[in-house]
């Protein structure tokens, strides 16, 4: 029993990020590079699959707004920042590794 209790307790915590009405995701890119386009496509596909209608993707082109790179401590491109729900999560790369992307977004437990 106590084991199942902890499990039931752990579950809502893990499923907690799914609860917010709208996810706020920010994707930092630098121009229309293949990597950036791939990252956006991968992200869009995931969101459509897992949170259709409950997400907002903000694409920030640092070529246009370079000063924004400092705010979120962006070094690598592309970088995805999960702003809502909290806590902030940072994922780098073209998001082609869907398993790690899910882990990064806290949608799946890391093994």
């Amino acid at each position: 029993m106590p084991i199942t209790k902890t499990k039931t307790r752990a579950r809502p915590r893990k499923t907690d990020p799914r609860k917010p009405a709208v996810w706020n995701l920010r994707l930092y890119v630098a121009g229309q590079t293949p990597k950036s386009l791939r990252a956006f496509a991968n992200l869009k596909a995931l969101c459509e699959e897992r949170m259709k209608g409950r997400y907002r993707i903000e694409v920030i082109d640092l070529m246009k707004n370079p000063q924004l790179a400092r705010g979120d401590q962006i070094v690598a491109i592309p970088t995805l920042v999960r702003r809502i729900p909290l806590p902030l999560r940072t994922i780098i790369g073209d998001l082609s590794d869907s398993v790690r992307l899910l882990v990064g977004l806290d949608l799946r437990k890391a093994d």
């Binding site: 592309p78 970088t79 999560r89 940072t90 994922i91 790369g93 082609s96 590794d97 869907s98």
Partner: protein, 585 residues
């Protein structure tokens, strides 16, 4: 951009350099770091890499109007600002003046998930933006290798860092990349030195015989000659100083002005005028021979002329020197209070030889003295080797001469050691060399002074005895006799002997003179006697002559009387006539 490329192509002949403004470094590198290229500065923890970068940047911004960007991968901006303040750099003001841009790149790896290929365009954009904001010509990446801890996939990272260096070079930015050296067999943790081909500088902080020294070495500098030695350097409140501070040639002025040594007779030994202004004087001797006293006299004389003196005391505390000098009638205290005399006292072991040289420079630069005393210079040997002391002294002497400062270095010679040989190294730097000796005669030690050399002036070759009296230092002639140089009691007794001999001579002369006088009197007495005799005889002779004369006359008269008497008998009537006739006859 095209122009930049052209510039770098022509640089095969003359490599353009960006002056660092770091004291001494520009001399070693022949003008600074390679302009428009990356330079790797590698060193262990606490070796001063960040400060090196900071100073390069700040000097560039303040002295060479080359604004800069500091990309910090480790320290936060407030920490960096604080650290820079300890070197006397006001980063906040430079940032406000748009001469500097600070950016802290901080990534926490645990938050980051890597989901595929990535690049460092974000960093490129940040640097490009920062460079554009202040019009930067210099960039510091401190320490870019920290990214290896922050970001996954070292393969990508290495490639990206390589691309970054290429990009910075293409932009013509003079870049300093710092890197931590964790093992002696490699320069950087992740081997990024292979991407930096232009200039590599190694910083080192080591402890040798309990004395810490920082050293800098230029491992490579493509397309430029550079000093290849390890150079000591220091970090203090005025930034980094790489020694040699000054490697100036022998082109300093040589003033012909002479200044008194403060000891009249010593001036006399130096052609009557004393030392040259701006010359370096070595006063060497064993312990207790009066080196400090000679120096104190010089200081006193300089202060009397209203000149400023700086006294580096490596052996005694200032108060002790003042007290001890008072015992020989020199009161240094008023000069200290007037601000003419400044003591800089420190145990030599307090820091390395570089530190001493630097402190010396700093003090001289801020106090502007006319006279500098280093007492004793040999104590520096305690913290270094003879070679290093010699090279430090060379620099110091050069520096002092350039500034026209007269300097006295006292030097303690080891008892019983080969006096001149052990100091030959140091003495060749000096213009004048006073040798103080202890002469042991008749169970006592006495002080003697000798001008061993004094360039460019006539000087006495005589040994003088000197006494430390209540009234200062007094030089005396020594007695030079068949037994050699006599000093102290031996000299005094010799003087007494001489005096006695002199008196005896005088007495002898007196008696001779008296004898002469007596002889003269005897002679005169005899003369008088002879004369008296002669006169007596002459009188007698004269008497006889006159007697015989009167006898002759009487005879004539008698004959006349006889004639007359006969005539009267014959013609008494013709008395008158006959008498006349007789007279006629």
């Amino acid at each position: 951009m095209a122009q930049k490329k052209k510039a770098s192509q022509t640089s095969f002949k003359t490599l353009p350099k960006a002056a660092t403004g770091i004291q001494g470094l520009d001399e070693i590198t022949g003008g600074g770091l390679p302009r428009g290229r990356p330079t790797l500065v590698s060193g262990g923890a606490g070796s001063g890499k960040t400060l090196f970068g900071l100073e390069f940047l700040v000097r560039g911004a303040t002295q060479y109007s080359e604004p800069g960007v500091f990309m910090s991968f480790e320290e936060s901006i407030p920490d960096l600002t604080k650290n820079a303040a300890s070197l006397g750099f006001d980063l906040e003001r430079l940032v406000a003046d748009k001469k500097l841009f600070l950016d802290h790149v901080s990534i926490t790896r645990t938050e980051i998930e890597e989901t595929g290929e990535y690049d460092l365009d974000g960093l490129f954009i940040r640097i490009a933006d920062a460079v554009q904001r202040v019009g930067a010509r210099r960039v510091i990446l401190d320490t870019i290798e920290a990214l290896f801890g922050d970001l996954p996939n070292p393969g990508i990272l290495r490639a990206e860092i390589r691309r970054l260096f290429g990009w910075l070079k293409q932009k013509g930015l003079t870049t300093v990349i710092t890197a931590e050296r964790d093992r002696p067999d490699r320069l950087t943790r992740h081997g990024i030195e292979e991407f930096v081909s232009d200039c590599v500088i190694l910083l080192d902080h080591r402890i040798r015989e309990e004395i810490s020294t920082r050293r800098l070495r230029i491992v490579k500098y493509r397309g430029s000659t550079h000093g290849t030695n390890e150079y000591p350097f220091l970090i203090d409140d005025q930034g980094i100083s790489v020694l040699p501070i000054s490697s100036l040639g022998l082109d300093h002025a040589a003033p012909a002005v002479r200044i008194s040594s403060g000891i009249a007779r010593l001036d006399g030994m130096l052609g009557g005028k004393g030392f040259y202004r701006g010359s370096s004087i070595l006063v060497s001797g064993g312990s207790g021979t009066g080196k400090t006293s000679v120096a104190a006299h010089f200081v006193d004389a300089a202060c009397r002329r209203g000149e400023r003196c700086l006294f580096f005391a490596f052996e005694e505390s200032p108060r002790q020197i003042v007290r001890n000098m008072r015992s020989i009638g020199i009161d240094l205290d008023p000069w200290v209070r007037k601000g003419l005399l400044l003591f800089q006292a420190a145990r030599p072991t307090y820091g390395g030889i570089e530190q001493h040289l630097l402190v010396t420079h700093r003090c001289i630069a801020s106090f502007h003295p006319s006279v500098v005393v280093v007492d004793p210079v040999t104590n520096l040997l305690m913290v270094s080797t003879l070679n290093e002391v010699r090279s430090m002294l060379t620099r110091l002497v050069d520096f002092l001469k350039t500034e026209g400062i007269t300097a006295i270095f006292t030097s303690l010679t080891a008892a019983g050691g080969a006096l001149e040989a052990s100091e030959a190294d140091v003495s060749s730097l000096m213009d004048s060399w006073l040798l103080l000796e202890s002469i042991e005669v008749g169970g006592e030690r006495n002080r003697a002074l000798l001008v061993l050399k004094s360039r460019g002036m006539e000087h006495s070759n005589q040994i003088r005895e000197f006494l430390l009296t209540d009234d200062g230092l007094r030089l005396l002639d020594v007695y030079l006799g068949p037994e050699g140089v006599l000093t102290g009691s031996a000299r005094v007794s010799q003087e007494v002997r001489e005096k006695a001999a002199g008196t005896a001579r005088l007495q002898e002369q007196g008696s001779r003179r008296r004898e002469l006088e007596r002889k003269r009197r005897i002679f005169e007495a005899r003369m008088a006697m002879l004369r008296a005799e002669f006169e007596a005889e002459a009188e007698i002779i004269q008497q006889t002559i006159s007697e015989s004369e009167s006898l002759g006359e009487e005879m004539v008269q008698d004959r006349g009387r006889m004639v007359r008497s006969r005539k009267a008998d014959t013609s008494a009537y013709k008395k008158e006539g006959r008498a006349k006739a007789a007279r006629k006859r």
